[in-house]
């Protein structure tokens, strides 16, 4: 039986997962109009896609976060998260370049408010962390359902 122990990579995996669970759940438990307003503020999608994005993105964040914390389908979940973060970085960057009148990112409702540049920095850091975790996928499999199923 493989040794199940917690290390720095596993701790990072939990932190990133919890971060996205909270972010997604907060949006999902708020009325949808709130996040739709955030999507509309970035002024990048046509109206029909704005509604679709406002409905889908919180579920993707929430479920990806859960899969990362539980360590189930860890590699695809982390790859999905990287893709999501790249999209976030592109959207925030275009808002900064176009000088859109956004006082804050709108990513966490009133949980906490972050200016766009801080969010860009945070998303880039998260992307680097997620990439690091993918690179060390074997090390983060401790305390994961993936390792449980492999052992079986």
């Amino acid at each position: 039986m493989k040794e199940q122990k917690i290390n720095l990579f596993v701790a990072c995996r939990f932190l990133i997962g919890v971060f996205f669970i909270v972010s997604g759940a907060h949006k999902l438990l708020s009325p949808q109009g709130n996040f739709l307003y955030v999507v509309q503020s970035y002024d990048i999608l046509p109206s029909a896609l704005e509604k679709l994005a406002a409905a889908m993105v919180p579920w993707v964040e929430y479920l990806t976060g859960i899969f990362i914390v539980l360590g189930l389908w860890l590699r695809p979940a982390l790859q999905g998260l990287r893709l999501l973060l790249i999209v976030f970085i592109l959207i925030v960057s275009q808002a900064i370049l176009r000088h859109l009148p956004l006082e804050e990112c709108g990513c966490f409702g009133e949980l906490f408010s972050l200016p766009l540049r801080t969010v860009l920095f945070m998303d880039t850091a998260l992307l680097l962390f997620a990439s690091l975790l993918v690179k060390n996928i074997e090390k983060i499999k401790s305390l994961s359902l993936d390792s449980h199923f492999e052992i079986k």
Partner: protein
Amino acid sequence: MPRRLKLSKARATFLILILSIGFILGGRVFLSAKQSSSEDFSPRVKGNESAPIQIIEYIDFQCPACAKGAKYLKKVIEENPQKIHLEMKYYPLSMHKHGFISAYYAECAARQSRFWAFQDYLIEKQDYWAPMIDPKPTFDLFAEWSGLDLKALKNCLEDKSVEEFVLKSKAEGKILGVRSTPTYFINEKMFVGQEQLTAEITRLLNEGTKN
């Protein structure tokens, strides 16, 4: 043997998905039950009380999007006075340093029945007072222009019930799911920001013209 293992992982995935989605749906049911039992606070109103378009707005007077929305609403109410009824409620955001004090002044103006005159100055001159370190002298000037009794205003600003009223209004908004400003409830349906507001008002006015 490997087939059996695959099935177990698939089952676990299915179970986790069901539980995760169930948790969110349960949370939504719980929150909507909490919302329907929220208290009602006396509003600041404008327009025809029995109008077909009933709007409740949660506003932060320092928010630029709120100023845009308020200007649009003022215009559309002037053009359709019989069709729209507006209630204004306070939702000052902590990220705006003058959000609360401007709401206290507006509430004191409301207590002298001068709410709309005063809020027009707040909205029209937002660019002027928002960057100030201390906007109180400017608000005093707006109060004077709005025809407020300045002595009564001073006493009102020291009255704890004003702060309590504004905080209650914000707490009520939070229970209803308000997270940013401006948030509108049009015929009890929530809309956030001017884009959503304009789309819904245009739709309702067009619907009214057709009928």
